[in-house]
């Protein structure tokens, strides 16, 4: 009898958990936290459903200490061209900047130059991910006079293993 009760509880918990996982995110492309991928050190300042987009209350383009030229200097000096792997396309690394300017929850998306899904060799994507994760100049943002967490992305245009341009 006790075993039946326990099994029922476990079954109900299983259904409930699956329902939570299957719930849609608030917005398209919202990043669901994942302890395995993200660890536990990165924290939002506000609730999950209060993360805004980078262009809310924007001062224009990316808000990084030293501006776009600082981002370009960082990546173009550190990214090593992968000459023997002639891969081309776009890589997006999207993440959250919290109200303290700390970053976390990195997610990759990549395509070929025809916008078709394409997975780059690790040598290319891992380099970009590492440099991105080490960035420490993201400016905290306020939205409606309150400290905000915001989604930010960087898109890297790669041509034949060489970094060509960074957006936005």
């Amino acid at each position: 009898m006790a075993l039946k009760k326990i099994s029922l509880i476990i079954f109900i918990l299983f259904l409930f958990n699956n329902k939570l996982i299957a719930q849609e995110t608030r917005w398209i492309d919202d990043i669901v936290p994942n302890e395995v991928l993200d660890g536990t050190s990165f924290k939002l300042c506000n609730n999950e459903n209060q993360v805004i987009q980078y262009f809310f209350g924007s001062n224009g383009g990316v808000e990084y200490n030293g501006g776009k030229s600082a981002i370009n200097s960082l990546f173009f000096s550190q990214f090593k061209e992968v000459k023997n792997i002639k891969e081309s396309g776009l890589i997006r690394i999207r993440f959250i900047v919290n109200c303290e300017g700390k970053i976390g929850r990195f997610r990759l998306l990549s395509s070929d130059l025809n916008y078709q899904p394409f997975t780059f060799t690790n040598i290319i994507s891992d380099q970009l991910l590492k440099i991105t994760k080490d960035m420490n100049g993201w400016l905290p943002k306020k939205y409606k006079n309150k400290p905000a967490d915001y989604y930010q992305y960087l898109i890297f245009k790669i041509e034949e293993g060489k970094l060509i341009e960074i957006l936005p």
Partner: protein
């Protein structure tokens, strides 16, 4: 007065660069499916474009009429703003498929701006050129698409083509002065080391509306021409204007072609 004309032009073109359809127009053409879809969309859409509710309304709209191009364009919008090139292209291509003339300008505008797809933008613009003489403006109204074509050539290091494209456009019957035209021409001439031509356009830009980028490229030009006094004055002006946020290039979504940061001025 000239500055006011430019500012007003910018505002008007920003509004008309992207307009929503008149649903009754489909009815007049006898297309009841698109009419119903259009009505459904505008009666039910009160959601933020990133939200799941918004996308459900769009999906329901497309269930009524799968060739209602406007809905595909709307669906693509949040993806381009989140940098999701795969999903954006999928829906944007469908908008272009079902209404080529209306949505090719949008696709062209966004390809170069968000994804540095300069060749793709030029290709889209050339398709448009085969259909019409005056290909119109970007979806946000900032540029005429001929200026975009010139900017794409510039980014592809084809500076002579950038110049000739812009010159042809500026001499055309449909040319309408926009705020960055002379600045960009100045930038193009700098790339081929034609400092006198660059100066001509940059001074024209300054006369109409002075902002940080104009002064920066002027400083750059004066430095190249060994005019130290003018170089230092322009550099100082660039910094002063930059520090006043109103007087610099601005786009909420990205760093524009030719836009500068404070570091650029300090390093000059």
């Amino acid at each position: 007065m000239k500055k006011n004309i430019l500012v007003i032009s910018f505002i008007i073109l920003s509004v008309f660069g992207y307009t929503q359809p008149n649903c009754n127009a489909y009815l007049w053409k006898g297309d009841t499916l698109q009419y119903k879809a259009c009505k459904y969309y505008f009666e039910n859409n009160r959601y933020y474009q990133f939200s799941r509710e918004f996308h459900k309304v769009v999906d329901s709209t497309l269930a009524i009429c799968p060739y209602f191009a406007y809905a595909y364009r709307e669906k693509s919008a949040s993806y381009v703003k989140s940098g999701n090139f795969i999903e954006w292209k999928k829906y944007m291509d469908l908008a272009v498929k079902y209404d080529t003339i209306s949505y090719l300008p949008v696709r062209a505008s966004l390809k170069y701006k968000f994804f540095a797809d300069y060749k793709g933008t030029i290709k889209d613009i050339e398709i448009l050129e085969s259909h019409t003489n005056n290909i119109g403006y970007t979806s946000n109204g900032t540029y005429h698409l001929q200026t975009v074509k010139a900017l794409c050539y510039y980014k592809l290091n084809e500076f002579e083509k950038a110049i000739s494209t812009m010159q042809k456009y500026m001499k055309s019957s449909y040319y309408h002065p926009m705020i960055y035209d002379n600045l960009h021409m100045g930038m193009f001439y700098l790339k081929i080391n034609d400092y006198n031509s660059a100066l001509k356009y940059l001074l024209a830009a300054k006369k109409i509306y002075d902002f940080a980028e104009v002064e920066y490229y002027l400083a750059y030009t004066y430095k190249a021409l060994h005019c130290k006094k003018k170089y230092l004055l322009s550099k100082k002006n660039a910094l002063k204007l930059y520090n006043n946020k109103t007087y610099r290039m601005y786009d909420p979504y990205n760093f524009m072609i030719g836009q500068i940061s404070k570091n650029d001025i300090l390093k000059l």
